[in-house]
């Protein structure tokens, strides 16, 4: 659940989609998006509490699980980025190239 954030820090609500575990962010329209840039950013404890209250129905309705509030920063172009490395990796996926499954030529017949 939510950690203590700086009172005026920009923040968003995140969770995992229950049925498949996908990382999602709460949007201003009250939906859940896998894209962090779609997230509704608030910047006060009061706004955060309101946002969380609005999300609790979706937890009860089994849409999402693991509700959390994370601190973010917004660059000059409006792009949202998490402050912590953990959330940065969570937002974009592993920092490494994932193994690519490629087919091999069939085994030669035994000599």
């Amino acid at each position: 659940m939510a950690r203590k954030l700086r009172p005026d820090a920009p923040r968003v609500v995140t969770a995992n989609r229950l049925r498949d575990g996908v990382v999602v962010y709460r949007t201003a329209a009250g939906a859940w998006s896998p894209a962090l840039d779609d997230a509704h950013v608030v910047a006060s404890t009061e706004a955060e509490e309101g946002l969380l209250r609005a999300c609790t129905a979706d937890v009860a309705d089994c849409l999402v699980v693991g509700l959390d509030v994370i601190e973010v920063q917004i660059d000059a172009h409006g792009a949202i980025a998490p402050i912590s490395q953990r959330e940065a990796i969570r937002a974009v996926g592993p920092s490494i190239a994932l193994p690519q499954d490629r087919a091999f030529a069939p085994l030669a017949a035994p000599a």
């Binding site: 990796i89 499954d101 085994l107």
Partner: protein, 553 residues
């Protein structure tokens, strides 16, 4: 190989049905997450950073070719085309959907596999020597005991809610390849010097994680028929007195340390007197019946020779010779070898295998290894029954699938947990550092000159990569938002199990690579003839290596 009987099969089939119902009730809202979480964990299903993660048990690390094909199928059908072999001889899938998890369990049940007790505060998958049954130094195949323990501990009603998780490892050989001294209970087979009977040294209270401890011998020799009653006594003392008020002090090692091994032994002995010679006594015929299911496969007769006496044509095929030297171990049957398959190609993610690689291993197991595969605690695979004259053909086939790195037990055979790239507990990434180090030591000829050297990298204090017992151990830490790595030297998990000593402050990843390269150079400069890295550190202590640290600063 062991084959399920009707009871085993009914149990896993019923579990699939139960979990299917539980998932349906969770998705419909009949179960809350608080209600559901312990149920999914009992089936190895975690919620990690990016998705659900499923941990599948590979009992004592033994798989058939058909089982490996199903693991490949799961990777391709339900995940992203790969899986991750772990330091507890299991496999994990990182991108699982909750709604598909029951189908995965059903697919596994069809080949006698499951994910039961791969999580939770219960007795976990029992691990064993990956060369069990075929190692020349072995007294008896430890998988017979491991299977008895599996049957005893599976859904054991008294031990399903222990103070904390509980891990057991067993080796049937005097040379420990199962790290028995760093498990909650370690079993090492010995022969009674008087009767010649095989039995167990019982080691208790070992473990890594936040509080690393080398286990202590609680009983020097335990006859096999008393195994279950004695372990039940240990478990009862732990279950009664292990701490439940503090998760960090709940493992049996803390209890053993608090009581002292002698007082703990006294309590176990008192408990055992009430259990000894009772229903938990393993009848000789039961032991024999299970042993029969691990009967050695039908080897070709009339073969001779051993890999240790094999004449390698270095000039004709240096790469093959290098691979045989590093990856093929002597077998107890003349004319055969134990082939260790590295999942540690330079730059590869340690322990990861693609679906196609798993299928290739399964096919090669069927063709060259009598249908059998093993998983090792070092995140590699083993083809345990390979004819020596098949080695060139096998090597070529492995090489075509990027599975022929000649580095087993060498500096680039790095053990690493998933770290912060996947794990919700991690503080730092493990995989990128492992990749950087394996690329730094990608020269296999030099790696063989360096010799045996184990590097273990954990992304947090939970120590899933066993960094405390790495010859070079690396612990990832988060210091005020900075990803740093603390290095230890001199750890080992073999017969002379030792915890590594910290050398210097934690450093960034690029500096860690340079320091470790410097440690290796120091070793090469000061080693005595025939001395492995760990032998040199044991002889000199860390002082010469610390000089490297200062020189590089």
């Amino acid at each position: 190989m062991y084959q399920y009987d009707a009871h085993d099969q009914a149990l896993v089939d019923q579990r699939v049905d139960q979990f299917r119902d539980q998932v349906a009730r969770r998705l419909s809202g009949d179960l809350t997450e608080d209600q559901f979480k312990p149920l999914r964990l009992m089936n190895g299903l975690y919620l990690q950073l990016h998705a659900y993660m499923l941990r599948v048990a590979v009992p004592y690390g033994t798989l058939s070719g058909d089982q490996m094909r199903v693991l490949a199928h799961i990777a391709r059908r339900y995940d992203r085309g790969y899986g991750h072999f772990t330091t507890r001889q299991n496999i994990q899938y990182n991108w699982i959907k909750l709604e598909e998890a029951p189908d995965i369990l059903a697919d596994m049940a069809r080949v006698q596999m499951h994910a039961i007790q791969t999580s939770g505060n219960c007795i976990r998958n029992v691990t064993a020597d990956p060369w069990a049954g075929v190692a020349p130094d072995e007294i008896e195949d430890p998988r017979v005991t491991a299977e008895i323990l599996r049957q005893w501990s599976t859904l054991h009603p008294e031990f399903s809610f222990l103070p904390r998780k509980f891990k057991i490892a067993i080796t049937g050989a005097p040379n420990d390849r199962a790290a028995v001294k760093v498990h909650d209970i370690g079993l090492r087979m010995h022969r009674d010097p008087d009767s010649g009977e095989a039995g167990y040294e019982v080691i208790v209270g070992g473990g890594l994680g936040r509080t690393p401890v080398i286990g202590k011998t609680i009983r020097r020799f335990l006859p096999k028929d008393h195994l279950l009653s004695y372990l039940e006594a240990i478990m009862r003392v732990y279950n009664a007195h292990g701490r439940r008020d503090n998760i960090y002090k709940a493992r049996i090692k803390i209890l053993v340390d608090a009581l002292g091994i002698d007082a703990f032994r006294d309590q176990v002995e008192a408990e055992w007197q009430a259990l000894k010679d009772g229903p938990l006594t393993v009848p000789a015929e039961t032991y024999a019946a299970i042993r029969a299911r691990f009967a050695l496969p039908p080897y070709d007769e009339g073969l001779t020779g051993s890999v240790s006496t094999l004449r390698l044509d270095e000039a004709a095929d240096p790469a093959l010779a290098r691979w045989i030297r590093a990856n093929v171990a002597p077998h107890r049957v003349p004319g055969y070898g134990i082939v260790n398959v590295s999942l540690k190609a330079p730059g590869q993610i340690p322990g990861d295998a693609t679906a196609s690689q798993m299928e290739r291993i399964a096919d090669l197991a069927d063709r060259y290894s009598l249908g059998e595969v093993r998983v090792t605690k070092d995140q590699n695979l083993v083809l345990p029954h390979v004819r020596l004259d098949d080695l060139p053909a096998l090597w070529r086939a492995l090489d075509a699938a990027d599975l022929a790195s000649p580095n087993v037990g060498l500096v680039s055979d790095i053990i690493a947990c998933p770290g912060l790239d996947y794990c919700s507990l991690a503080n730092a990434r493990s995989i990128p550092l492992a990749q950087a180090l394996s690329e730094r030591f990608a020269d296999m000829a030099r790696a063989q000159d360096i010799g045996e050297l184990h590097i273990n990298i954990s992304g947090c204090i939970n120590a899933c990569a066993h960094h405390h017992v790495g010859h070079i151990g690396i612990l990832g830490v988060d210091q005020k938002g900075k990803e740093l790595y603390q290095i230890t030297l001199g750890g080992r998990s073999d017969d002379n199990a030792t915890l590594g000593k910290v050398v210097g402050p934690a450093v960034p990843a690029d500096r860690a690579v340079e320091l470790i390269a410097g440690f290796v150079d120091t070793y090469l400069a000061i080693r005595h003839p025939g001395e492995r890295f760990i032998d040199t550190v044991a002889r000199t202590g860390t002082a010469p290596f610390k000089e490297t640290l200062h020189a590089a600063a």
